[in-house]
Every structure is written in structure tokens, then in C-alpha cells.
Amino acid sequence: MSRFRWLAVLAFASVLALGVAACGSSSDETSSGGSSSSDLSGEIAGAGSTAQQAAQEAWIAEFENANSGVTLSYDPVGSGGGRDQFIAAGVAYAGSDAALSSEEGELEKATKRCGPGELIEIPNYVSPIAIVYNLPEVEGLQLSPETLAKIFSQEITTWNDKAIAADNPGVDLPDTRITPVNRSDESGTTENFTEYLSEVVPDVWSYEVSGDWPVKGGEAASGTSGVVEAVTAGEGAIGYADASQAGELEVAKVKVGKEFAEPTAEAAAKVLEESPLDKELSQGKYVLAYELDRETESQGTYPIVLTSYAIACTRYSSASEAETVKAYLEYVISPEGQKLAAEQAGSAPLSAALTKKVTPAVEAIEAG
């Protein structure tokens, strides 16, 4: 027993020492980098979507590098939690995988929080969702939305099913059992994927749109990495994951119109660019909630994407807060910011046309 106690003491002491060292080095940095390259200062907090976490962390690191007087934080509490905290004025900005809606009065409450300024809601993070599968000897699998829905609703159970064969003429398909893999945790990826299925093939996919996977009996894994790991491990497995995380897995092409499309960043950005605004949700000058055109037949688009929004106000009571939020969001939607997110988080950069549409919202931020 006493040996364990000594170990515990040792561990505690080393943690303490590390903590002290970390504090020391960070205070050193502040003192040496005293002259900041900009006059921005203060602490800004954001919260919300876990999908945006990697991108937000990269943006914050870059932004703090350029503006040493600023401390930014992003708490990945989840989209719902982020919206709640934004409405309660607990955070200056929020990230959300779904646009604010009037269903639970969130849109009205958020607009009220920003009064007398305007509410800002702009897409800032777009990520294609890839269909990954594990079938040795079958490359470039092609799937129509109907077949995809039947596979994930467990209606099709073997790989040599007629429906899959019809999508892949001339391909020799094995009789392996299909293991559909879904997320076991609640996620925006699941929500966007089920939304795609229920909009494009409602007669095949009868389940509700939900962040919780609605079909029972499939293989479930936690997080994007868990899904990728499960598909890698199981022969005959198929799953959905952020395209950037697909790694070495084979990625299926999904039928859009007459062609089969791959989940590239350009194709994902293009579908958002071609989508109309959701009139019901876009209540406000700077509220740009897109109604993704999942049924698009336009060539070069890929409709299974996750769109995440940045939510902020045009008016903040303190000048430093307004300036910092403005500068930060300007950086986020800028080509450099979007490129950084593409590199670090595998998102699809906003197209030039879309950047042009969202820029006025960010430029409207002022103190008051």
C-alpha cells in the first residue's frame, strides 16, 4: 500500500511541477511579446458544435498568433449547448450544426439577445460526408440514393444484392454480409446524413431526421474515428464519416442526377453555393440559413454535406469585444481562414461567391 501512496505523491508532484512550468513559460511569452501587432485585446468566448472543434482550434491558434493581446476560447459543448449559451449571453459567438429555428423560439430569443443590433447567422464550416466501405477487391463502388438507404436501413443484407449490382455494372461483387456502421453518439454528421436520405428517397427511408441514429440493430461506433476503425476492421462493413477522416478506406461514389459523384471539397462547396436560402429560418438581414438542395442533379456537386453556422451579433456593448469578434469572424470566412480549416480539419472552403454573400454580415459588427 505504501508503495502506491509514494507513487501517487510522486505523480501529483510531477503534475504540479509541470503545471508550474507551463504557467512560467506562458507568462514569459506574454512579457516578451508585449508589443502586439494589433490593438485588439480582451477575452472572447465561443461555444457550440463539436464538428467545428478542430477548425475553431486552428483558427484560434492562428488568430492569437497574429493578435497577441487577445485570448479566445471555444468550448465544444455541442450545437444545442452553444445556442443556449449564446441566447443567455454567456458567449460572444456560437457554432451550430443546425440553423436557429422558431420551433422552440430559439430564433426569436437569439434576435432579442442581439437587440438593438441584428442577429448574424452565416455558414462558416462545410464538410463533405463520405460513404466509406471495406470490400477488398472492389474499388470505386457506386451507389444510388435508393440503394444507400436500403443498405443503411438493413433491407439489403449482402453485397451481391441485385440493387447494388445494378449500380455497378460489370463489377464482380462477393456474397459477403453487409455490416452497416453508424455513430453511437449523437452527432451532426448523423443528422445531416439522415436528412439527406429522408429528403432524397423518402419512400425508401422512413425514419425521422435525428442526430441519434434511428435504425436499430446495426453496428455502432463512437465518434468519426470509431466508425472509421470499425469499417477498417470488419470485412463487408460500410459507414459514413467526415471525408477528411476516411484515411485509407475506399470511398463510394453517390449518384447525383445521372452521374456518380465523389465527396470532394469543391463538390461540397458547390452544392451550398447552388442552394437557396431557407426563407422561414432566414428572418433577419444577416441571417443566412441555407436550405441545402440535397436533391440536386447538377453535375459536379456532392449533396451529403454537413453545414455548420457561426452565430453572433452585429452589436456588442464593449468596443473591444465588438472589434475582436469582427476581426475573428472576418478571419474565419477569409480565404486564408477557410484554407487553414481545410488543411487542419478537412472542411470544404467556402466558394468565392458564398464568401461575398456572408461578408456584409461580419462587416456590420460594431460597438454600441
Partner: protein, 317 residues
């Protein structure tokens, strides 16, 4: 029992020697010990109050207000089932193994090997559960796939091996095995401690009467250690009931209520379900998760009380 008597005697002797007065050292010691005990109680009460207060909104809410539109009972029942199934399966594997390991270390192995082995078993407890989880999905899971296929083929008539066998190995079977490895050191440490205290007189007496080593162990060591082994098993069961990270990572959960250990459709456990759904939950959904935590608290409490009752009966009889 004999030991307890000696300590009491020594205590009385000491008290008599000091003239019956309590020394300052005694007072400080007794006060510190009392304070520690009170702190434990206060902590436990604090956790219970938190669970009840935060879980209450979900308990009183109508089913339609809860996410998924299911009542609390419908929501928590499959989770509680999964929790108990995983923990029981783990304990069924770990306890006999732990007792065997403890017997080997205390009565069979040569001293040097016994010492090393005991140290290694203790080391198992020092591995973080997330590492066990990763080991489960990267190593044990894939390795168990052919085993589970074999079980499905040859023992498929038994409901627990009904299949169809998972191709990824993220099953209740693998999760239970990993949990068994995790609780092994606790159970075996308790068993080892008590087996080594079996009175020499009894052991030598048994051997003098012509008992073989196995007969000696069966007649003296096992009965002497029985109640401690039970309480060790319950400690292990408690750990398995509450284990979160390893199960979260390994188990493929789909809410199915089934004894089938080797398929991809498994019930989730309460702790894993909280870990999986907390990050994207808000409002009443969090209250619901905390209410399930209260149920886990109750299950663990009942398990421990059951263990106490069994031990008390053993000691009386």
C-alpha cells in the same frame, strides 16, 4: 478472529501502561479518523443529492417532453439491462480466474515467482481504462472475430451465442472480456490477502491428516477466505457496473435488449450511454442522462448491500 483478539489485548495493555489516560496523539488520531469518515459520508450524500436534484426534472417530465418521446423507464430499462449483463459476464469470468491466480500465488508458486506475478497482476490495475478500450478494439476485438464465428457455428443453439457473429469484434463478448481483465487485479488482490492469512495450524493439521494439497486448499483456505472473496467480487462487480471509457469505445450499441453476446446489436450500458450522449445534449436531455446515473447509483448500492448481507450470513453461520 484470533488476530483481532491479540490487537485488542495489546490495546488494553497499552492503555493500562499509560495509566488509562488518553494521550494527545490518541485524541488527534481519533479526531482525524472521525473527520475522514464524516467526509466520506458527506461526499456520498452530496453525490446522491446532486443526482436526485438534477435527475428530478426528467423523472417528473411527461414522456412526450423527453428526447425520443419515451418514458424514463422505457429509456433506462435497456441501459440497466446492458449494464448488469456486461458486469455479470465480466464477473463470471474474472472471479474464478482471480481466485485461481490468488491460490497459485499464495500456495503453489515458489516464493520468487509468486512475488513477481503478484506485482504484475497489480500492475493491470494501473492501466487507464481508455487504453484497455483501445486494446479492445485494435487487438482483442479483431482476434475474437474467428472465435465468435466458431461459437456461432458450433454453439449457436445456446441463445447467448446465437449470432450472427459480428465482423468487427465490437461485441458484448469482447467488452465483457476486457472488463474481466480490468476487475481481475481488484478481486485477486483481496483473495490473495486473505488466502495468505489462512492459519498455518489449520493447513498443517489438514496435511497431517493425510490431505493432498488440493484437499487442504478446499478444506481450509477456501472456507477461510470465502466471505472476503465475495466482498472482493462485489468490489469488482461495482467497478464493472460503472466502467465507462472502455465500454464506450468497444461496444457497438444499438439499444437492443438481447442476451446474444456475439452480434453487432448490443444494449448500451448506463455509463457508456452518458459518455456518448452528453457532449451533444442540452436542457432536459441532460437531466435525463443524470437520472440514468441515479439508476446506476441505485443498482450499485443494491449490489453492495446484497454483498454485505451474504457476508453477514456467512459469518454468522
Amino acid at each position: 478472529m484470533a488476530q483481532v483478539d491479540t490487537t485488542t489485548n495489546a490495546g488494553q495493555l497499552l492503555a493500562a501502561a499509560s495509566g488509562g489516560r488518553r494521550r494527545p496523539g490518541d485524541r488527534i488520531f481519533s479526531n482525524t479518523a472521525t473527520a475522514a469518515a464524516v467526509t466520506i459520508l458527506a461526499l456520498l450524500a452530496g453525490v446522491a443529492i446532486f443526482l436526485v436534484a438534477e435527475g428530478l426534472p426528467a423523472v417528473t417530465a411527461a414522456a412526450s417532453e423527453l428526447p425520443g418521446g419515451k418514458s424514463l423507464l422505457d429509456y433506462v430499462a435497456p441501459l440497466a439491462f446492458g449494464t448488469v449483463l456486461a458486469a455479470t459476464f465480466a464477473a463470471l469470468i474474472a472471479v474464478p480466474l482471480a481466485v485461481a491466480v490468488a491460490l497459485f500465488i499464495t500456495h503453489i508458486a515458489p516464493p520468487r515467482i509468486a512475488l513477481t506475478l503478484g506485482y504484475l497482476v497489480d500492475l493491470l490495475a494501473a492501466i487507464p481504462s481508455i487504453v484497455y478500450g483501445l486494446w479492445g478494439i485494435f487487438v482483442l476485438g479483431p482476434a475474437a472475430v474467428p472465435v465468435m464465428r466458431w461459437l456461432e457455428e458450433h454453439l449457436g443453439f445456446i441463445p447467448i451465442f446465437e449470432g450472427p457473429a459480428s465482423v468487427t469484434g465490437r461485441t458484448m463478448f469482447v467488452a465483457g472480456l476486457v472488463l474481466a481483465v480490468m476487475i481481475l487485479p481488484i478481486v485477486s488482490a483481496v483473495a490473495r490477502e486473505v488466502f495468505s492469512q489462512t492459519p498455518r495450524k489449520l493447513q498443517e493439521g489438514a496435511q497431517a491428516l493425510g490431505a493432498t494439497r488440493w484437499e487442504m486448499i478446499r478444506m481450509t483456505v477456501l472456507p477461510f477466505g470465502r466471505s472476503s472473496v465475495i466482498s472482493g467480487a462485489m468490489l469488482g462487480l461495482g467497478r464493472a457496473l460503472g466502467e465507462t471509457m472502455a465500454v464506450t469505445i468497444i461496444l457497438s450499441v444499438s439499444g437492443a435488449v438481447s442476451f446474444n453476446l456475439i452480434s453487432q446489436a448490443n444494449p448500451s450500458t448506463i455509463a457508456a450511454n452518458i459518455a456518448l450522449n452528453f457532449p451533444e445534449s442540452s436542457g432536459i436531455a441532460i437531466n435525463l442522462l443524470i437520472a440514468t446515473g441515479l439508476v446506476l447509483f441505485a443498482i450499485t448500492l443494491v449490489t453492495n448491500m446484497g454483498a454485505r448481507a451474504i457476508i453477514a450470513r456467512q459469518n454468522r453461520g
